[in-house]
Amino acid sequence: MRRVYLDHAATTPVDPEVADLMAQVLREVSGNPSSIYAEGRQARALVDRARDEVAQAIGADPAEIVFTSGGTEADNLALRGVLKAREGEADGIVTTAIEHHAILDTALDLEAHGQARVTVLPVDRDGRVSAQAVARSIDERTAIVSVMHGNNEVGTLQPVLEIGAICRERGVAFHSDAVQTVGALAIDVRTMPIDLLSVNAHKFYGPKGVGALFIRRGTRVSTVQTGGGQEKGRRTGTENVSGIVGLGAALRIAASRRAVESARQAELRDRLIREIRSRIPDATLTGHPTDRLPNSASFCFSGTQGEALVVSLDLEGFSVSSGSACTSGNTDPSHVLLALGLDRDLAQGSLRLTLGRDTTGADIDALLAALPPIVARLRAASGATVSA
């Protein structure tokens, strides 16, 4: 059965060109980038080139790019590293209720260990935080504001330019988790007032387990993972050479395809949203109706439960996800959907469809044919009464 993969916000397949390059590195490049002899210099050159590619894609200087083991580590390094650097001076973190766990749990973990005071700002029904609320939350002890660029569950884009401008004016570091937007939206740190920005290869057709943190020159960040001094001491440990090469190449390719590809996906997404709303009574679009990731359509269907939706669609060859990640042990409804003000039952029935490079109009048609009967069946089993 041909499968239709509509969960590109969870991860993307590795671009074949990227996979080939990585395979070549794994087979042919044996040195440690810290070694000064030929094999080491070859590995170092590859890491440097990837750093240039990442820098180029986001308008940064290569010296401002630190490679990490993924988006989670980039987020941890941003919060923990800035707090550590400001120890004794400032300990306030301002963030939002719909951040990824890598931010929220890190902020709360720091608070639980007495290392931070955390302000978690609410969002509106569309998932947007108010820049004014951020401004009001900043005080003389605030070390960092962290507001994600595009939300992974509901797709909403945040007013990062406005928030960044406020942070700059107030002299507070501004971090944005751009894991969902790098590669999909134009990002240029020369014009965007963002001091730290998280990047994650496997969201733009690169490998899993490698990411990067942009750290604007002058932003004070202490090392969180201590050791041999790699990455100029900002993140130590032998470099994941093949992964870093993959990250660089994937981002270079994504940047070159971005404009055309994102527009194409946005069009398919618009059709998907329109048609689901027309075919399924009572479908609730979650996230901002227009100011959202170009590839993201997310809904809640009352009277259904997300895992059952996902499993039912899986059986018909569709890969999708739900905010209620029931099997992973986390049975609570998504903190993001609750933060949007949805009631718990409705939040349980969430479905996220995220498009990718390989998504075609036929895929959308197939999904549109498969989904309504499944929703109807689950509603029948639960006895939900649907007001059309």
Partner: protein, 128 residues
């Protein structure tokens, strides 16, 4: 490349896609419900009893695959049993009938049993 160990069984998936006895009996001998507080899933079972035997058993489940399959298969297991035998049904019977459930999903079987027992108790009370 190998398959994951913690899959839903074909039987469980079959109950998801073709739920047996989904619905509510309009005028039941008994009605019972149970919920899983950790996720908000819930199951309602209605049944009719005649001559001490369960004639018709129906379920409503708002919940995950395991919750739906557990309730669905339980209606099959219970139908035709004497009430005294039905009350002895255990989560293990559901697991056996479904060919197992993924590890963390076993509370879902318990919820179905809870709803059935509730309905049986309700029937007993109503019967006086």
């Amino acid at each position: 490349m190998t398959e994951a160990p913690d899959l839903y069984s074909d039987a469980a998936l079959d109950h998801l896609t073709r739920p047996r006895n989904a619905g509510t009996i309009p005028d039941p001998s008994g009605i019972g419900s149970d919920t899983n507080p950790s996720c908000g899933d819930r199951t309602v079972i209605t049944l009719t009893i005649a001559d001490g035997r369960l004639r018709d058993v129906r379920f409503r489940t708002f919940g995950c695959t395991a919750a739906i399959a557990s309730a669905s298969v339980l209606t099959e297991l219970a139908t035709g049993l004497e009430a005294d035998a039905a009350v002895q049904l255990m989560p293990a019977d559901i697991l056996r009938a479904l060919g197992g459930l993924p590890e963390r999903k076993e509370p879902c079987a318990l919820m179905a049993i809870g709803a059935l027992r509730g309905a049986l108790l309700d029937a007993r009370v109503r019967a006086g």
